[in-house]
């Protein structure tokens, strides 16, 4: 067994992370930038960073992922990376011809003190940015926060650097996507359409990272929020930020720059969070909820009622990114399940506050931890001490699941060994239905596997 190296006794560790439940900022910035149409993400750092991020995203989506790098050398690290970035901008526009270059920093360029705002301004002043093209940036040092922070920073950068307030309002609502899958973004757009609300969703990686086979390799796939749409967000009636950690910073930026009021919601994962999203969006767009959406909701409730006996009291360990696992925890409680251990590598006090709100009344004994020391090693130790019936998390959970012989559902980022996440949403009522189906299948398959012959049931 692979993780037999995990000890049961939980000891305070001085500075060591074992089996991280997070990764670094730049990959989040790269993912966010891919959700802008015609945008080439650019990593301002060593070649390796860019290569690792592209590889990880490629493994997760099984799609080509394009991004450029400043290719730092020893010289750049001594004299600063300005020359590299200016050269890169020139090269990229002349060869790869994107509409936008979205530059993010790395630990290396941050530490040597490169100022992306100043360098991109210089690029503009020096005429290196062709007419009608854009260079945007976000500061994403790897030694602060996590991949989620990097996503949030780039999305905020997109909002801040594109939004324009023309003075005349448009009848549209901004929806700022927290870190979610292309399938989720597609579902948000579908729900909004069904509600009859005009929205601008950003970023939007649908039709970018779930592209069809066409016989050609399209450098800039057809999806992604367009520059015109992004510029118009400054005139929208309001913004809904889906996720307090990964989406809210962009909403704040829009409010600051263009005075667009906002509301922060949980990502619509599960019944209640979807209810809140639908209510907020129908209110913001001043529409009534159509029967079809009410029926979708009814179907989800119906299935939960049908299968409640199999869900009741099941003990769950989960790990992942805060904006996803906060509403998931709430949903598990609504399914009458028992989340017992929760871990997120992303630091920040919002996580604790929101988890407390959900858990204090309904499950005060649930253990949860985020930030430094909240890694999969700790989660595994907790599982050894207080066993669970189900584990939910990204692909790396498979080691723990195997070691503890626990059913496992893949949820979050990265998923390197299964497909589905890019095509089937987890958000909305249909996403809730998919989650319930996955949970039930995992639990019932296990029950079947372990059942004595005389108790092996046909009808469940």
């Amino acid at each position: 067994m692979l993780l037999r190296h995990t000890t049961k006794e939980v000891k305070e560790r001085e500075g060591l992370t074992i089996n991280p439940a997070k990764t670094c900022q730049p990959i989040g910035a790269m993912y966010a930038a891919l959700g802008v149409h015609g945008c080439l993400p650019h990593s301002h750092g060593s070649q390796g960073c860019c290569s690792y991020h592209r590889s990880t995203l490629t493994r997760h989506y099984k799609e080509p992922v394009m991004a450029a790098t400043s290719s730092f050398t020893e010289g750049a690290s001594v004299f600063g990376g300005q020359a590299n970035l200016l050269a890169a901008i020139e090269t990229i526009f002349s060869v790869y011809d994107p509409d936008i270059i979205a530059v993010h920093s790395t630990c290396l360029s941050e530490t040597i003190g490169d100022d992306l705002q100043q360098i991109t301004r210089k690029a503009r002043d020096d005429g290196k940015i062709p007419e009608g093209k854009h260079v945007i940036f976000a500061s994403t040092p790897s030694f602060i926060g996590s991949h989620v922070t990097g996503y949030a920073n780039m999305v905020a950068g997109i909002a801040d650097q594109f939004a324009v307030s023309t003075g005349s309002k448009k009848n549209q609502i901004n929806i700022i996507a927290g870190w979610m899958e292309p399938s989720d973004m597609r579902e948000i757009k579908r729900l909004s359409k069904e509600l009859g609300v005009n929205i601008v969703l950003f970023p939007d990686t649908s039709d970018v990272l779930d592209a069809p086979q066409t016989g050609t390799h399209v450098f800039y796939p057809k999806g992604g929020t367009t520059v015109a749409e992004l510029q118009s967000t400054g005139d929208s009636l309001s913004s809904l930020a889906l996720g307090s950690i990964s989406a809210e910073p962009a909403a704040i930026a829009l409010e600051k720059k263009c005075k667009v009021p906002f509301e922060t919601l949980d990502m619509p994962i599960g019944l209640r969070a979807t209810d809140r999203f639908i209510m907020a969006l129908s209110k913001a767009g001043n529409v009534t909820v159509p029967d079809e959406i009410t029926a979708d909701r009814g179907r989800l409730v119906d299935v939960i009622a049908d299968m409640e006996q199999y869900l009741y009291g099941k003990r769950v360990a989960l790990f992942g990114d805060p904006d996803q696992i906060i509403p998931l925890t709430e949903f598990l409680l609504d399914l009458n399940m028992k989340p017992v251990h929760i871990v997120s590598g992303t630091p920040g006090q919002r996580f604790e506050k929101q988890m407390r709100q959900i858990l204090d009344e309904r499950s005060p004994e649930t253990k949860f931890k985020n930030g430094i020391g909240a890694d999969m090693f700790l989660l595994h130790q907790w599982m050894k001490n207080e066993p669970v019936d189900l584990l939910i998390g990204n692909t790396y959970g498979k080691y723990m699941a195997r070691d503890e012989d626990v059913p496992f559902i893949r949820f979050g980022f990265p998923i390197l060994d299964r497909i589905g996440h890019s095509y089937f949403p987890s958000v909305g009522y249909s996403g809730g239905l998919r989650l319930v189906e996955k949970i039930l299948t995992a639990i019932l398959d296990r029950q079947d596997r372990d059942a004595l012959e005389e108790k092996f049931e046909l009808v469940m």
Binding site: L2, H5, T7, R13, E14, G15, L16, T17, I18, P20, K22, T23, C24, P26, L40, H42, G45, S46, Q47, G48, C49, S51, Y52, S55, T56, T58, R59, K62, E63, P64, A68, T69, S70, S71, F72, E74, S77, A87, A88, T91, I92, S94, V95, Y96, T106, C107, L108, T111, S142, F143, Q213, T214, G215, T216, H217, V218, F219, G345, I372, Y396
Partner: protein, 453 residues
């Protein structure tokens, strides 16, 4: 996409073999142009892949979390025993550490880890930022080694300090410190080390068995299914057999200089090169003709089994065209030969890290019209694949979806191979994989190569 030409400044890294074309030197071993969508990685990546398979050591990445997270168990280097290498250890440097230094954190992490896991050794990888903030990791390693009594080896793999190849060198430098510290008692004169074989999908086990069938003792495999004790006594072998020449030739050279152990370069891919790698070892022991006899016996037995099996693939694949873009150039040579043996020609050949000699040899090997590239990018690869009408791309993780989008077959000859491709059995697996992918029914449904159905 047609309007995208070869990246300006890259003309010297692309060459098309044509009659009358000057065989000028291709530009290589340079860092990528700023702003390119390079498929290359960094120094750290090079060190990490070389040392990673040492399974009874702890590997701790000193830096922010990303470098550890992205290299956590992504390479299928199999171990027959301990699996410490498959865990991810990081000092997870934070802003305060960047300001005040991370030496203390590293020290405490090492002490904790060594106490907990009792490893045979520890490798400490320094990342970009460690090179900037100036942590003296050598001093920390020395201190921890003295306190714990195990070798604690710094690996100077700051990402920006060169290319992936410099990372190989840094890894070899660390290994060199271990070699020579163990006892060579009982090692046969008829012995070798296998260098540059990382036991992906269990390949080192296959190769090792061939040599053992010849009566050769394999002292140490560097680093596939690696053990610290075996590395320590590697200097007791009579010959170093180096495959994946990019990564471990420097170690072979150092061992030759320090211990007088000669080395040969081999490749285990394809019938021709695999056989040669057995014969070349036998040739090194001319006083023992029985070894050459045994080698011939191994080859004959294996080829007898393999040859008829390959014919069905060859029949289907004859006339199909392949594009190769892999990490090391040496691998490309073997792949060209292996593809020819199943009836396929090569229309594009390239590598991320080849040197001048490699490219010269490539030019000699390739057919007229073959495009040769160094440090290529997706635009270029797609362009040449379409122009040259390739049916197959051989590459790594980032190339796979490009091949599939273009509607051609793909074979992973990199980290993510799931079945052994080395050895005689590997040639069968390789042919099968190529056959499966190129002849897959899915392409019937795909608008292949941009055309209509």
């Amino acid at each position: 996409m047609e309007h995208i030409g070869i990246l300006e400044g890259r003309e010297k890294q692309v060459f098309e073999k044509k009659i009358g074309a000057e065989l000028s030197d291709i530009a290589c071993e340079t860092s990528s142009l700023s702003g390119s969508v390079s498929q290359r990685a960094c120094v750290f990546c090079g060190s990490r892949v070389v040392l990673y398979p040492v399974a009874d050591a702890i590997h701790i990445v000193h830096g922010p979390i990303g470098c550890a997270a992205y290299t956590w168990d992504i390479r299928g280097a199999v171990s027959s025993g301990p699996e410490l290498h498959r865990l991810s250890f990081s000092t997870d440097l934070q802003e305060m550490d960047v300001i005040y230094g991370g030496e203390k954190k590293l020290y405490l992490s090492l002490i904790e880890l060594i106490e907990q896991y009792k490893p045979k050794a520890a490798f400490i990888y320094s990342t970009c930022i460690v090179g900037l903030i100036g942590d003296d990791i050598d001093a920390v390693c020395k201190k921890v080694a003295a306190e714990t009594g195990i070798p604690v080896l710094p690996v100077h793999s700051e990402g920006f300090k060169g290319t992936k190849k410099d990372g190989y060198k840094a890894a070899c430098f660390a290994l060199m410190k271990l070699i020579g510290t163990g006892s060579t008692e009982g090692i046969s004169k008829l012995s070798i080390n296998i260098l540059g074989e990382f036991n992906l999908a269990g390949e080192a086990w296959i190769i090792r068995k061939y040599y053992e069938r010849m009566g050769i003792e394999v002292v140490s495999t560097l680093t596939g299914d690696g053990r610290i004790d075996a590395v320590k006594r590697a200097h007791g072998a009579s010959l170093n057999v180096v495959q994946c020449s990019g990564s471990m030739t420097s170690l072979a050279k150092d061992m030759e200089e320090k211990y007088g152990i000669p080395y040969i370069r081999v490749s285990y891919f394809g019938i021709e090169d695999m056989s040669k790698s057995l014969y070349d070892v036998a040739l090194h022991f001319p006083d023992h003709p029985e070894i050459m006899e045994a080698a011939k016996q191994v080859v004959s037995e294996e080829v007898k089994k393999l040859y008829p099996e390959l014919q069905k693939f060859k029949k289907a694949l004859t006339g199909k065209k392949a594009a190769i873009y892999v990490g090391g150039a040496f691998k490309t040579f073997s792949l060209i030969k292996a593809l020819r043996s199943i009836g396929m020609s090569v229309v594009l050949a390239g590598s991320q890290t080849g040197n001048k000699d490699d490219y010269k040899r490539l030019k000699e090997m390739c057919d007229e019209g073959t495009v040769i590239v160094d440090d290529s990018n997706p635009v270029e690869l797609s362009k040449f694949i379409l122009e040259k009408e390739a049916d197959l791309l051989i590459g790594g993780v980032k190339e796979r979806p490009i091949a599939f989008k273009l509607g051609i077959g793909f074979c992973d000859h990199n980290h993510e191979r799931k079945i052994p491709l080395a050895g005689f059995v590997g040639m069968y697996n390789f042919a099968l994989e190529v056959y499966q992918s190129v002849m897959s029914p899915v392409w019937q449904f795909a608008p292949r190569k941009g055309g209509n159905r």
